[in-house]
């Protein structure tokens, strides 16, 4: 397989070298490199829908600096190797703006590829806009001038989560259960050390890891959580590992509060409803539909009218494109070398609430207010949006201000020139 990819990559390189495509002057091409087939396709497709929706909207208003936005999807099958082939293909087709999100391993590959490409091809800069890969290394030891991150990285999310727990006096005993891979471990380790510092009185009564998407029956884990006497569970689980976990909790009648990062992923809301755990599952996000902010809710309504079954899952894509277009306008150029400096340090009224966030110049990490939302029955007058047809939806529980999400970076960025 690898051989085939390498051969493919070489072939594409040769192709790109001989047939240099003319850069169309009247369009700005955005290459979306994410899984569009296989197991990851359901989430990859949602991101592509959102980008296309935004592009249609902007184009209807005349585009950006008089140019149309064109979104091109490239299927990377969630594999770093395939990704690099696809990124090269996108560049050969005249794309200078690469958007990718799913999988930090994929993100790391794109980040280093783009940095090297720009070093070797001065004058033809490519920029990587990351909307979901949240491994802290992307904006710390491996940070790059050509990479901008819009989702809060793991450290920032956990900083926000522990600052939220700090104020919750009723939290006494915390149980951690996570998937046994890098993300799960960084959630567990960081929560333990941050809680020790911020709330030394909280007891960590369990710190469990289970293999990634291999568990069919979570009831023994639930029995353990119950036996530990925990009042709060923190979990980084996503997908089936989250759905089956809450279902087992609902079956056995375990009553605790769940603090999560991905409970809202596809299937999560359905599982919480089936488990009948109203107002017990919390999710830390940068925005959700039921925040009382009219401009965002109007967009959501238009979006739902067009994509009925595939929800808005990435409010941050709106921040990303909004800031990108603003930078292009300010630079009056779609050349990344010219608009990237405008993105650094940019302040931006976020999509979800209009509250201001900023791009930190030091590591190109976007800082924004985060929200603790809780899933349950809605107040129809104020909270119009339910999830997955369950009749329940995400409701505001607390806003975590930008200053409470601050986390230092070790990034020492090499800037061009």
């Amino acid at each position: 397989m690898t051989k085939a990819f390498v051969a493919g990559a070489l072939a594409l390189c040769a192709f790109g070298a001989t047939v240099v495509p003319a850069l169309a002057d009247d369009t700005i091409k955005i290459g979306y490199v994410d899984p569009l087939s296989g197991g990851g396709a359901s989430i990859g497709q949602i991101g592509l829908n959102q980008l296309k929706f935004i592009a249609d909207d902007v184009n209807a208003k005349g585009g950006v600096i008089g140019k149309k936005i064109e979104v091109i999807g490239y299927d990377n099958k969630l594999s770093p190797q395939v990704t690099l082939v696809q990124v090269q293909k996108a560049i050969d087709e005249g794309v200078q703006i690469i958007v990718q999100g799913n999988g930090s391993a994929v993100g790391a590959a794109v980040e280093s590829f783009v940095a090297k490409y720009n070093e070797r091809n001065p004058g033809k800069a490519v920029v990587y806009l990351n909307y979901a890969a949240i491994d802290p290394s992307l904006t710390n030891q491996n940070c790059s001038y050509w990479h901008f991150a819009w989702d809060a990285n793991v450290d920032i999310k956990l900083e926000a989560l522990t600052n939220f727990i700090k104020s919750k006096q009723e939290v006494k005993k915390v149980y951690l259960i996570d998937q046994d891979y890098s993300f799960g471990h960084s959630v567990a380790d960081t929560v333990v050390s941050m809680l020790k510092e911020k709330r030394p009185d909280i007891q960590i009564v369990g710190n469990e890891f289970h293999p990634l998407v291999k568990v069919t029956d979570f009831s023994p884990y639930i029995a353990k959580i119950k036996a530990s006497g925990a009042d709060t569970v923190v979990t980084g689980n996503w997908g089936q590992d989250f759905a089956l976990l809450v279902k087992a909790a609902g079956d056995s009648g375990l009553k605790v509060n769940w603090y999560t990062f991905y409970a809202g992923g596809s299937g999560g809301p359905t599982a919480i409803k089936q488990a009948n755990l109203p107002d017990q599952v919390y999710q830390l996000v940068e925005g959700f539909n039921n925040i009382d902010y009219k401009p965002m809710q109007d967009v959501v309504r238009t979006y739902i009218a067009r994509y009925k079954s595939e929800p808005i899952y990435y409010p941050r894509i709106f921040n990303m494109t909004g800031m990108l277009f603003k930078a292009i306008q300010e630079a009056n150029s779609a050349d990344p070398a010219k608009f990237a400096p405008k993105l650094e340090d940019m302040k931006y009224a976020t999509f979800a609430s209009g509250d201001e966030g900023f791009m930190r110049k030091k590591d190109h990490q976007f800082f924004q207010p985060l929200y603790m939302s809780v899933f349950g029955a809605l107040d129809a007058a104020k909270q119009p949006f339910d999830e997955e047809g369950t009749g329940w939806g995400w409701k505001p529980s607390a806003q975590i201000a930008v200053k409470d999400t601050d986390h230092p970076t070790t990034c020492e960025m090499k800037r061009p020139n």
Binding site: S42, V215, D217, A223, A227, Q240, S252, G253, Q274, S309
Partner: protein, 316 residues
């Protein structure tokens, strides 16, 4: 201690029976036709989606009857028009055929129901806690799962061991020519057996669908563990599969409940700090952390030391 013992045993038995429910059809097809059906998990998924579709229109109980019949019919059609032709080219061709089938069925399911999970609910008539032990609820639906698994085991065993049909089916596997001479339609027997196997997979799907997650990737996620059950039990042995399911269920549940690690077990013999740096990964991993991997370890050990499985009759 008693509490952990009791709850773990109960959870283990419940999980084991769920496994048997899912593996029974696979065993039937293998023991009576000699076909290792890779598409088994796909029939299971079809059962879950058919069950979902019927249950939201008519109700769960009609779904439990109709969905397996439909999937059984699909299975028979696949045997009649696909597998029977492929059969002539030997086992490898059969394997590849059923393997390819899994992708076809998955794509089909995605076209109809999409990639997102569907909201397949436990029927209201079974949506209550059956009993409470040590302040943990045990839902009635899980008890229903348990009883169905035992019932299927009993019926299958009776049919295979005690009825004429079972006799003919078993004879057809080893002496198809002779059985044909005696006036039985061997092809039809195989078609029926494949249909029954697919139908059993669908029963498991209809029942496990609401308990787990009904999604287009559920077949892929389930796959490997069923082969562990069948191989550990002994390829083609119903009793073996039953025993293996229980064993795996209990093994896994008890492992999760345990917090033992090498570091704890060999406490006084701890290696020096320098060695610990290298050993940290193995040294501090708890049994609980590797619990879901233990069945696969068991598979490897069984294949090495007892290749015919717990109750298998043949070496291969």
């Amino acid at each position: 201690m008693l509490e952990i013992l009791f709850i773990s045993t109960l959870n283990g038995v419940l999980y084991g029976m769920l496994l048997f429910l899912m593996a029974s059809g696979l065993t039937v097809i293998f023991s009576m036709m000699g076909v290792l059906n890779f598409a088994h998990a796909s029939f299971y998924m079809l059962g879950a989606f058919f069950g979902f579709e019927i249950s939201r229109r008519i109700g769960f109980w009609p779904g439990l009857v109709v969905a397996p019949l439909l999937v059984g019919a699909i299975g028979m059609a696949i045997e009649r028009y696909g597998l029977r032709r492929v059969h002539r080219h030997g086992h490898v061709a059969e394997l590849l055929f059923t393997f390819g089938l899994t992708f076809v069925i998955q794509e089909g399911v995605e076209m109809v129901w999409g990639k997102l999970p569907v909201d397949y609910r436990v029927p209201p008539s079974l949506d209550f806690p059956a009993f409470t032990a040590f302040s943990t609820n045990y839902p009635a639906f899980k008890m229903f799962e348990l009883l169905t698994a035992i019932a299927i085991f009993a019926v299958l065993l009776l049919v295979v061991r005690r009825t004429r049909i079972g006799l003919i089916v078993q004879a057809a596997l080893t002496h198809p020519g002779m059985v044909g001479m005696l006036g039985h339609n061997v092809d039809r027997i195989f078609m029926l057996v494949f249909g029954v196997g697919a139908g059993l997979a669908a029963v498991a799907g209809v029942i496990a669908g609401p308990a787990l997650v009904t999604q287009s990737n559920m077949a892929g996620l389930l796959g490997p563990i069923l082969f562990v059950v069948v191989v550990v039990g002994g390829l083609g042995s119903l009793g073996g599969a039953f025993l293996a399911s229980l064993l795996i269920g209990l093994l896994q549940t008890f492992a999760v409940a345990s917090n033992a690690s090498l570091a704890g077990l060999l406490g006084p013999l701890s290696p020096s700090a320098k060695q610990q740096v290298f050993l940290a990964d193995i040294w501090n991993v708890t049994v609980a952390q590797v619990a879901p991997i233990l069945p696969y370890l068991l598979l490897v050990l069984i294949l090495i030391f007892r290749p015919r499985g717990l109750m298998g009759r043949r070496e291969s």
